[in-house]
């Protein structure tokens, strides 16, 4: 993991002191809310429906056990005993008081964390695939580049007042596990003919009311040019991005209105001036950061683990959990474990202070003390010996964290919705809970297989419903909550935006509608090996639509 040096420590400490002074000025009445708002947002502090909300950055979703324990401590000490993990690999606390926030930031700084740029019209926390460093198919470790981007983008003097927020994601292999196509900039690691790492550069992806998938503006960017190229893109956007209409201010609109080729030309023209300047990564810099992400002290193990087979045969619940929540590791004898934060009927992404501490303890005991936060609002232990899986699972069962549903229909992404959020039009969590309860039977869930279900409480699409196989968008119609369904979206390397099926369903019928969609899929699929998205692409919207609106 990356560790702060003296410079990082000094910087974050000074940032806390600066915000402490800004809060004091606000409380003393020297700053109006209009003046204070951009300052608090750039420190992750929102005002939500019922209280302030503090969004803490978890850079590229990587946490040490010490950091996760500290998040649990903050939840208990300053909040109401829980936190909410988000699709952008951050954590949100829902009840901090204004005067406590500088103390929370100081407690975060003590474990090398911060809330810098988790909001505001600036470069947000860069996200990565949660299996970086351990995925068998990886080209290069995306965390290295994310850390380089994190430092460069932190309080960037030129790019802190962009037309709109700006999100960058990096994925380490051809399998896109970071939804790069839905980001302002998506970077896909690849190798050139000589085996040197670099990036395919995509720009202009985004969701919201105008969902657009990113387009490639450069097939291969050598790694040493990473920052100069990002600076060129941001500089073009900062000057030309629209500032007259908040809904047209994202880079996706600029790219669309300018055209891919012309936008790429503008970037290349700017880049030509700066590519060999100060931002060019010097020899040794990538290696210096890479050293922080050196593999842990793996043991030489056989990949086959006979005791695991015996344990699976002897315990159906454990067997089901291994089947859904355990994935291949690049090292023999190790496995990657998803800890589901989606208990059936529970709140997606929420974890209690006790659960955070339990996961931290389990990570120390079985997994080199490292935890990841995933795009799907789950936690992940990247390095578990296969022989330890059963003991780990027992620990997770005790903490209420052993739900065997990773990637399944109840592994639902949901935004906080109107239960917490000031922008929402409808609640999202209760809908997730209703659907989750509907599909709680493990046998049925396993039979359905992998499918993504995402629920957003408004058109801002924080839950990425546009790129879900089954997307649900909450809308308000004359004071009542309705839910619009989209089908066929995908968030992987074959990213797609879902198609709207038709009129929205009310609160009481949305779980039925999802069940109908699933039933059509089960009836139409060519065998259990054909996942939902493949069936949808084969048969299209029509059969689903007919069944959904048959009674009308």
């Amino acid at each position: 993991m990356y560790r702060y040096d003296e410079f990082d420590h000094t910087f974050v400490t000074q940032r806390v002191a600066q915000f402490r002074e800004q809060v004091a000025r606000r409380i003393a009445g020297e700053l109006t809310e209009d003046e204070f708002k951009p300052l608090r947002l750039m420190n992750g502090l929102y005002l939500q429906l019922h209280a302030y909300m503090l969004r803490v950055a978890i850079p590229y979703g990587t946490l040490s056990s010490r950091q996760l324990r500290q998040l649990g401590y903050i939840a208990r000490r300053y909040d109401r005993g829980y936190g909410h993990f988000t699709t952008r690999q951050n954590i949100q606390f829902n009840w901090p008081t204004l005067k406590d926030v500088p103390d929370i930031l100081a407690d975060l700084a003590a474990v090398e964390m911060h809330a810098i740029q988790t909001s505001g019209n600036c470069i947000r926390n860069t996200t990565a695939d949660a299996t970086a460093g351990v995925a068998a198919d990886e080209v290069a470790d995306s965390r290295i580049y994310c850390e380089i981007i994190r430092q460069w983008s932190t309080l960037h003097p030129e790019f802190s007042f962009l037309p709109r927020k700006f999100k960058i994601a990096v994925t380490g292999s051809g399998r896109d596990r970071a939804v790069t196509a839905a980001h302002d900039i998506g970077l896909r690691l690849k190798l050139d003919a000589d085996g040197n790492p670099g990036f395919e550069v995509l720009v202009g992806g985004g969701q919201g009311r105008t969902p657009i998938l990113a387009v490639t503006i450069r097939e291969f960017l050598p790694e040493r040019h990473l920052l100069s190229y990002l600076e060129a893109i941001l500089r073009v956007y900062n000057q030309l991005g629209r500032r007259d209409n908040i809904y047209k201010a994202r880079i996706k609109i600029l790219v669309r209105e300018t055209g891919r080729d012309e936008f790429a030309r503008l970037v290349e023209e700017e880049w030509a001036h700066i590519r060999d300047g100060e931002l060019r990564l010097p020899d040794g810099e990538i290696e210096r950061i890479q050293a922080y992400f050196a593999p842990p002290a793996y043991q030489a193990l056989d990949d086959a683990c006979p005791e695991l087979a015996v344990q699976r045969a002897g315990n159906r619940a454990f067997d089901a959990w291994v089947g859904s929540n355990v994935e291949a590791h690049k090292r023999p004898g190790y496995a990657v474990v998803t800890i589901s934060l989606k208990p059936h009927g529970g709140i997606p992404g929420d974890a209690s202070a006790e659960q955070m501490e339990a996961v931290a303890d389990l990570a120390d005991r079985y997994g080199f003390g490292e935890i990841r936060v995933t795009y799907k609002q789950n936690l992940l232990l990247p390095d578990i010996r296969k022989g330890d899986l059963f003991a780990l699972w027992q620990g997770l069962v005790a903490a209420g964290l052993a739900t065997a549903n990773a990637h399944r229909v109840t592994d639902i992404i949901a935004c906080p919705g109107l239960d917490y959020c000031n922008l929402a039009n409808a609640r999202a969590i209760p809908v997730a809970q209703a659907i989750s309860e509907r599909f709680a039977d493990p046998e049925r869930e396993r039979a359905i297989g992998n499918v993504t279900v995402n629920i957003s409480g408004c058109i801002n699409a924080c839950a990425h419903h546009h790129v879900a196989n089954i997307g649900i968008l909450g809308v308000d119609k004359k004071g009542k909550e309705f839910y619009q369904v989209t089908l066929g979206g995908a968030a992987d390397e074959n990213a797609a935006i879902g198609d709207i099926v038709g009129p929205a369903f009310d609160e009481d019928r949305i779980a039925d509608a999802v069940e109908t969609v699933v039933d059509v899929y089960l009836a139409e699929r060519r065998g259990a090996d054909e996942p939902f998205i493949d069936t949808y692409r084969r048969i299209g919207l029509k059969p689903f639509k007919e069944k959904l609106y048959a009674a009308h």
């Binding site: 409380i27 009445g29 109006t32 429906l49 019922h50 109107l418 917490y420 209760p430």
Partner: protein, 99 residues
């Protein structure tokens, strides 16, 4: 004119508060002053704007209420949730804090 009350969030903790008849703020909608005419509403809004300028409250706005025996009740999902806290964590919302 529909019956109207004024709400805002408190600077110190962001909690939902309601303007009372004596120009103070309460966490309970039951304590809220209810305007039944444009004049009354303007008067309440002036008080609320002063509080916002003074920095003790954030983003005050008027919203429609029903009245039951003179007691204001929220209308619309959003305002109902604002009086109660998150519907999915009734153990931790305002209900819990007040019990």
């Amino acid at each position: 004119m529909p019956n109207t009350a004024i709400t805002a969030n408190r600077l110190a903790d962001g909690f939902v508060i309601y303007l009372t008849a004596d120009g103070g703020w309460s966490e309970s909608l039951a304590d809220a002053a209810v305007a039944t005419s444009d004049d009354e509403l303007e008067g309440l809004q002036a008080v609320a704007e002063r509080a916002a300028r003074a920095g003790t409250v954030i983003a005050p706005y008027a919203f429609d209420v029903e009245t039951d025996a003179g007691r204001p009740l929220p209308r619309g999902r959003r305002e109902i949730l604002r009086t109660l806290g998150p519907s999915v964590r009734t153990d931790l919302g305002y209900q819990a804090a007040r019990s």
